[in-house]
């Protein structure tokens, strides 16, 4: 796995921690369950914190806590399961979340551009993805008919500029 953040291949500064594992030093991503069970102690840490939502765990459950999270990771259990596209948009557009939204799980190259358009800015991708493949994938379509949560303007509006 490698991490692409805002178009750059970067090393992941966050450790994803299993629910039964001890918490390491430094930046961590925990499950929603762990956040809910240990929110007080987790809030007291002075290092960046992320939370990971499974498909079915809707962002409304963390809407009031979003200022605590540097990362919200959204799981794609299968490429066919598109729930997290809606979750990302809600986080950006409805809850005004400005931190990192990371796509994790089954994230295919043919989906990168859609993910970015709904508000993901970090993608955890397979090792065979090269910068060249990434660039081509996210440049597949120059414009979109829909306004994007990444700030892109819809064709409907562009036509009347």
């Amino acid at each position: 796995m490698q991490l692409i953040k805002k178009g750059e291949f970067v090393s992941d500064s966050f450790a994803t921690v299993e629910d039964d594992a001890e918490l390491p030093e430094g930046s961590i991503i925990v499950s929603l369950e762990r956040w809910q069970a240990e929110r007080d102690s987790l809030s007291e840490r002075n290092t960046p914190l992320g939370v990971r939502l499974k498909s079915g765990q809707e962002p409304s459950v963390i809407a009031d806590d979003l200022d605590k999270f540097a990362v919200v990771a959204l799981e794609f259990p299968a490429y066919r399961n598109g729930r997290a596209y809606s979750y990302a948009r809600l986080l950006r557009e409805r809850y005004g979340y400005k931190g990192e939204i990371r796509a994790v799980g089954n994230v295919l190259r043919d989906q990168f551009q859609y993910m970015i358009r709904v508000g993901f800015d970090a993608l955890e991708v397979a090792d065979n993805i090269t910068p060249d493949i990434y660039k081509r994938a996210v440049g597949t379509f120059t414009h979109a008919y829909q306004p994007g949560a990444d700030g892109s303007v819809s064709v409907f509006s562009l036509r009347h500029r």
């Binding site: 066919r80 399961n81 598109g82 557009e93 043919d110 551009q113 597949t140 120059t142 562009l158 036509r159």
Partner: protein, 552 residues
């Protein structure tokens, strides 16, 4: 009709390039068939029993002559010289080779066509009324909002991996020719008390193994809010639709499980939020831009009755029969709507040869402002023909095997591809439709029987819409033998109903006789002027049960 601008062209060309790359990766072995499958399905390419099948989108069923000529050419170059029009107003080619598909798509793009979202779990090609723009009681041309929806739903980043496929239909007349209540979303264009045009929304209709009739979720969505409303329905579905079982994944199951009330509450809550955010309001300038493409053409001022036309009907009885069955009143005096039947005696419903496509394209060019519509009943429509041209048009069609006079009659059947093509089928559909067509070929008898819709599906997936046929035929498999189950009383119009199962299924040898028994029973029972469906609604299933199973 709508014409692409630079943005539309760019998207379609970029799509062709993307698919060419994907096919290239597959042919080089960089992608396995399993990995390639979701990619090709996003582009209407299916692997059928014998070959690949490509489904070409015909947005809301409207085609120009130029486009139809191109489809004819594609049929010759990449297929066996024909194509098949579907109940989704699309066209399928049954024999393209994988390596040729990128070129085929590039050819389509030259005439502003594509195969985008004709399959896969996304918002499919939006369908509408084939009489759009010319129906007498229309509120507004339904293609305006259909085109808006086509664009909005194309490559929608949030809604391309839905729990299941998603179908939207639009209708703008009280007579529903688009079957909106059996779609995931049905949109009825309406006018409110203050004269504003807006949209009544039905959600959760569908056929398949669990047929459901759509529930009305909203009486009036204003124009500017329609995308915000649709997006709200889609988001509720995308987040809450079931993904654990593909047979329970359609929105109709969600609506059924939580109830229409709760669905409405969730959609309304979402809608309020989406509207607050504001950026999905449909720009009025854009609506007007699209509307201008569907402005009424300049019609000639013609007399209400054309003397040549009346004389031709008297002189040519076949022509008079064709006029009676295949034409409909036009909202402008002196014009007519013409339906071209793709259900010749013993033929495959919806099939059209490349040569016939060229004939229809030429006929449209000459007699109907260069425009053709595809109907969900698998026929074609020329919407703007002068009455005085009807006879010449008829002769041109008749000379090319396109003059069948059976629109709305018993041989104007819908049938899915069935076991002759489809990998999912239990039984053959086309041969059954062909046998029925042959049995009832006598035109006088057909007129005597009157309006009757027979729909046949080769399996429970119901692509042949058997649930909503006045007579529905469903192919079932019993220990490896093909059987046919019959339903009665279905309808897809404004009184949408799912047909009742009449009793035990029939064998292939029995089914056509059974249909004939049903028809004879109806004729014995009908009162003056009653159509089959009217009689059925009055008497119910019992008299048919008696005659059917008494004779077996």
């Amino acid at each position: 009709m709508y014409r692409y601008d630079e943005f539309d062209h760019e998207l379609v060309h970029e799509r062709v390039a993307q698919f060419r790359d994907q096919v290239g990766r597959r042919l080089k072995g960089e992608l396995t068939e399993d990995e390639f499958k979701p990619l090709r399905l996003m582009n209407g390419l299916y692997l059928q029993l014998h070959a690949y099948m490509l489904r070409v989108a015909i947005p809301y069923g409207t085609l120009s002559s130029r486009q139809l000529h191109k489809l004819a050419e594609i049929g010759r170059v990449y297929d066996k010289g024909y194509g098949h029009f579907t109940t989704r107003q699309n066209l399928q080619f049954n024999w393209p080779k994988l390596k040729d598909v990128p070129d085929l798509l590039a050819d389509l793009a030259t005439v502003e066509m594509h195969a985008i979202q004709t399959s896969g779990n996304c918002i499919r090609n939006v369908t509408s009324d084939q009489y759009a723009g010319v129906a007498q009681d229309e509120i507004e041309d339904p293609r305006i909002i259909s085109e808006v929806i086509r664009q909005w739903s194309t490559f929608h980043p949030e809604f391309s991996y839905l729990p299941r496929k998603f179908k939207i239909a639009v209708c703008a007349t009280p007579d529903d020719r688009a079957a909106i209540r059996v779609h995931d979303i049905g949109i009825q264009v309406v006018r409110n008390a203050s004269g504003e045009v807006g949209y009544e929304i039905y959600v959760g209709g569908g056929l398949g193994r669990t047929p459901m009739i759509g529930k009305k979720l909203n009486d009036f969505v204003p124009k500017a809010d329609i995308l915000a409303y649709l997006e709200s329905v889609m988001r509720v579905y995308n987040m809450h639709g079931r993904r654990d079982n593909m047979y329970k994944a359609r929105i109709k199951i969600l609506v059924h499980e939580i109830g229409a009330e709760e669905m409405r509450r969730q959609v309304d809550a979402e809608f309020a939020e989406v509207k607050k955010a504001g950026h999905l309001e449909l720009p009025m300038a854009e609506l007007e831009r699209i509307q201008a493409y569907f402005a009424a053409p300049e019609y000639e001022t013609l007399p209400e009755v054309s003397p040549e036309f009346e004389a031709a009907k008297k002189a040519d009885k076949d022509f008079a029969n064709w006029v009676r069955a295949n034409t409909a009143p036009h909202r402008v005096p002196g014009y007519a709507i013409v339906n071209i039947s793709l259900k010749p005696n013993g033929g495959t419903p919806g099939d059209c040869s490349s040569d016939q496509m060229d004939v229809v394209a030429d006929a449209a060019e000459k007699y109907s402002l260069g425009e053709i519509r595809v109907t969900h009943e698998q026929n074609l429509t020329l919407a703007n023909v002068k009455q005085s041209d009807l006879h010449a048009l008829y002769q041109m069609l008749e000379a090319n095997g396109l003059g069948t006079s059976n629109i709305g009659l018993i041989t104007d059947q819908i049938a899915c591809p069935g076991l002759d093509y489809c990998a999912l089928a239990n039984a053959r559909s086309i041969p059954i439709a062909q046998q029925i067509s042959e049995r009832f070929q006598d035109l006088e008898r057909q007129h005597h029987i009157g309006e009757l819709k027979i729909n046949t599906s080769g399996c429970i997936n119901a692509c042949g819409h058997h649930h909503v046929g006045h007579i529905g035929i469903l192919g079932v498999d019993k220990k490896g033998v093909e059987y046919y189950q019959v339903t009665l009383g279905g309808a897809a119009d404004q009184q949408t109903a799912v047909g009742d199962i009449v009793g035990p299924a029939f064998t292939e040898g029995e089914i056509v006789d059974a249909i004939e028994t049903i028809v004879e029973t109806y004729i014995d029972l009908r009162k003056d002027g009653e159509r089959f469906i009217d009689t059925y609604r009055r008497v119910g299933v019992d008299p048919f049960k008696e005659t059917l199973y008494a004779t077996h």
